[in-house]
């Protein structure tokens, strides 16, 4: 399967990752044109194939964003023969990706050295909660734990409240960084011909999100948890409007924008008020300023106000629910949201490619969630050259399961 106008056309990924972070990485690569072969088994299916009760989903998902475009094969990696087949698949791939706990791939016989033995220039991406080395490398975790370990959870929250739990954005953020590192390793291989083992710890991606606070801490300073406040902008935050639960986000960078804001909100008295005349003064009086903004905006329509303020050069946007996102013509025009459907999937919106390319523009979703093992004719038959009889026999012995 080659896609002439997709930028990563010709790149093949053997994908052992499950859950969210790793699959998001390989989903990005596949949207950019890489052929991604997902390796699971009936005894180790990916999370979307099962109910997710803690999340309130009592059945398997019919559509799973992070598995789009992927080919699916079954291999029961507890069987040595399946491991041999997995290595043959890796030997035909440019990249292998995994998200087991540190050390598991090696125990399976699929460690970096094992893979390099069958494919001397393999790029292995190991994506885990805490990395492949270090005293915590055996720690298991999910998105909220990555953010807790990495400090982003502590730095996020109301100033007088507890830390805040990060959700899937933390998984996917780790996956996006993993995709960047994988591309860099591909360039390195093109230049040097060498193999590479990428060790991405999701908690360290959370650390990058507080990179500034970590520099402060290294100098003995104690970074503050600012909530919705900004250290140099006021007004800045999320304000209620006339409609219930329809919030307006605002960020005023300078005096000119402050003047534009009071003009657009028809509050001329604000323009001559000395407490708010300069950025420093506004910061000093920001509690009063926030109270005043709340009063002014209480009679305003959130959407109309955001548009007016943008026209006047003030950074404003309504706090959007997914319903707003789904209706937005801008995101649709950019193919950031795209409608997808299949025989068992009624039309629905999904997230498209992460960027738009002027030449290699064949990026995005080509097919939806694969059924378990649906691409074995191509992968086991065509790529690995296994006969139907051989495959049937491997199924009987639960090597393919």
């Amino acid at each position: 399967m080659t896609l002439a106008k997709a930028p990563l056309s010709g790149v093949r990924v053997a994908d052992f990752t499950i859950h969210a972070a790793g699959p998001f990485c390989t989903q990005l690569l596949s949207q950019l044109g890489a052929e991604c072969i997902k390796i699971e088994s009936k005894t180790r299916p990916d999370a979307f194939r099962k109910p997710h009760a803690v999340y309130g989903r009592m059945t398997a998902a019919t559509f799973d964003q992070v598995s789009v475009n992927k080919l699916s094969v079954r291999l029961n990696l507890k069987q040595p023969e399946a491991v041999v087949l997995a290595k043959r698949l890796v030997a035909l791939s440019d990249v292998a990706t995994e998200s087991f706990r540190a050390g598991v791939m090696r125990r399976l016989g699929l460690g970096f050295d094992d893979l390099r033995a069958v494919k001397p220039d393999i790029i292995l991406l190991s994506l885990s909660s805490s990395g492949q080395t270090g005293p915590d490398s055996h720690f298991a975790g999910y998105a909220p734990l990555f953010a807790a370990w990495g400090g982003l959870g502590t730095m996020t929250g109301y100033t007088d409240g507890p830390p805040v739990e990060m959700r899937h954005v933390m998984d996917h953020s780790a996956g996006a960084h993993a995709a960047v590192a994988t591309l860099a390793a591909l360039h390195q291989r093109r230049r040097t011909g060498g193999a590479q083992h990428i060790d991405l710890a999701a908690r360290e991606v959370a650390c990058a999100m507080i990179g500034d606070a970590l520099i402060q801490a290294s100098m003995g300073l104690t970074p503050v948890r600012p909530g919705n406040r900004h250290l140099s902008m006021a007004p800045h935050g999320v304000y209620p409007t006339r409609q219930p639960d329809r919030w307006l986000t605002l960020a005023v960078r300078n005096d000119a924008q402050w003047q534009a804001l009071v003009r657009e909100l028809d509050q001329p008295a604000g323009s001559s008020e000395p407490r708010f005349a300069t950025a420093d003064a506004r910061l000093r009086h920001r509690d009063e300023l926030d109270a005043l903004l709340t009063e002014w905006l209480a009679v305003c329509d959130a959407d109309v106000t955001a548009q007016r303020l943008q026209r006047a050069g003030v950074c404003a946007h309504v706090s959007w629910s997914m319903q707003d996102i789904a209706r937005d013509p801008h995101l649709r025009a950019r193919l950031a949201t795209v409608e997808v459907s299949a025989s068992d999937v009624p039309p629905r919106l999904a997230v498209g490619a992460p960027a738009r390319f002027s030449k290699t523009d064949d990026v995005g979703i080509r097919r939806l969630t694969p059924a378990l093992g649906q691409d074995e004719d191509y992968v086991f038959g065509e790529l690995l050259g296994l006969s139907s009889a051989h495959r049937a026999e491997l199924e009987r012995r639960e090597v393919i399961l």
Partner: protein
């Protein structure tokens, strides 16, 4: 750079890659930072007064330095250039002649005057990857909208969903809450770096091209699960988007995050708690029933956590296979044994007298370790150097 450093530099993943960066926003600067951390030569083209990020908070007390800028600019070079002057445009053209990637966040309407519009760049530099990263992208009806972080997080859908869990329970009437710092911009920057390296990969077949990245798109991409839930028929809201049980708990000496998704993790959690009577109900063996009784379970967990030390809880939990973590402070992370052992931080020269430490990169390359020594470029440091 010592000879040892440059030898090591030649082996880095992106050695030889030349990037020109024009950044007013964290997104563009972070894209350049990711590439620089992997060995690319990244030149910030700054206006005469310097990038506005040089004075962006948080500032380091007692110095003139911005902690944010130090994090973003570490490992880059600085060239001062007035792009509204013919001389500045010539300097930029000279730099772009030998560059592989241009990362630019100049608003679309200001580009022509600076010779940075898509057509002008494409016609002059045919092998150049030209990455535009803007709050709402460079195409579409809102391409000219402007935004700061707080706007972007909410334009991408994640802001509306925060906080969830304990914070939302404690303060149900407060406005939604942003993630610390520049989370949306970091996502935009990460996608810009991905777009840059992807288009650069295709240069042998396709030549240079223009790549349009939007921070709003990036926030939505990392928040895609909420759109998936909408397709499933659930409109998520911060007050209801919570794990049925688990989450943030206050313990002695700090906060714990606890999340058990698998049956075996629940069994291990029961073990951690010392098998109290309430955990022994037959019905709680069923994961679906546990979810239905989530509030009751959390009530018991809160009571238990409040009586135990945070470090003890996490250590025992991880031994038993219960996913639990401590909410660590930046100071704990900087001193962390795990981080130290992984070489996560490196010395950073802010200037001749000020030294700090900095995260090298959020990924490691085990065959060719990334460079440890880091420095922040003085404004226009390259201007004094003769052109190559």
């Amino acid at each position: 750079m010592s000879s040892k450093d440059s030898l090591q530099g030649a082996a880095l993943p992106l050695a030889g890659c030349r990037v020109i960066e024009r950044s007013r926003t964290v997104a563009a600067a972070y894209a350049g930072r990711l590439l620089a951390s992997m060995g690319a030569t990244v030149v910030m083209v700054e206006p005469i007064e310097g990038s506005r990020l040089r004075t962006a908070p948080p500032l380091l007390d007692g110095t003139d330095h911005s902690a944010l800028f130090a994090f973003l600019a570490s490992g880059k070079r600085s060239l001062v250039c007035n792009l509204l002057s013919p001389e500045g445009q010539r300097t930029l053209a000279r730099e772009l002649q030998s560059a592989d990637i241009l990362i630019d966040d100049t608003p679309v309407r200001e580009r022509v005057a600076r010779t940075l519009d898509q057509d002008s760049v494409a016609s002059r530099f045919q092998a150049l990857v030209h990455v535009s990263v803007l709050p709402f992208g460079s195409s579409g009806p809102k391409a000219d909208w402007d935004a700061e972080e707080v706007n972007l997080l909410h334009a991408g859908g994640e802001g509306f969903l925060l906080p969830n869990g304990l914070s939302s329970e404690l303060f149900p009437d407060r406005p939604p809450l942003k993630i610390y710092g520049h989370f949306s911009q970091y996502q935009g920057g990460c996608m810009a770096a991905l777009g840059a390296l992807t288009a650069w990969w295709a240069v042998p077949e396709a030549g240079g091209q223009y790549v349009d990245v939007s921070a709003q798109d990036a926030v939505l991409a990392v928040g895609a699960f909420a759109l998936q839930r909408l397709g499933d028929g659930s409109l998520e809201h911060r007050s209801t988007r919570r794990f049925r049980y688990g989450g943030v708990f206050e313990a002695q000496g700090g906060f714990v995050e606890l999340l058990t998704l698998e049956d075996r993790q629940w069994t291990a959690l029961v073990e951690l708690l010392g098998r109290p009577v309430w955990t022994q109900h037959e019905a709680l063996r069923d994961p679906l029933e546990r979810s239905r009784r989530g509030d009751e379970i959390n009530h018991h967990l809160r009571e238990w956590m409040s009586r135990h030390d945070v470090d003890d809880i996490v250590q025992r939990a991880q031994q038993l296979g219960v996913p639990a973590a401590k909410y660590r402070t930046p100071a704990e992370i900087i001193r962390g044994e795990h981080e130290r052992s992984r070489g996560l931080f490196a010395p950073l020269m802010l200037d001749e007298s000020v030294q700090a430490e900095i995260l090298v990169a959020p990924f490691q390359f085990r065959c060719t370790p990334l460079q440890a020594r880091q420095r922040v470029p003085a404004l226009g440091e390259m201007t004094a150097e003769p052109a190559e």
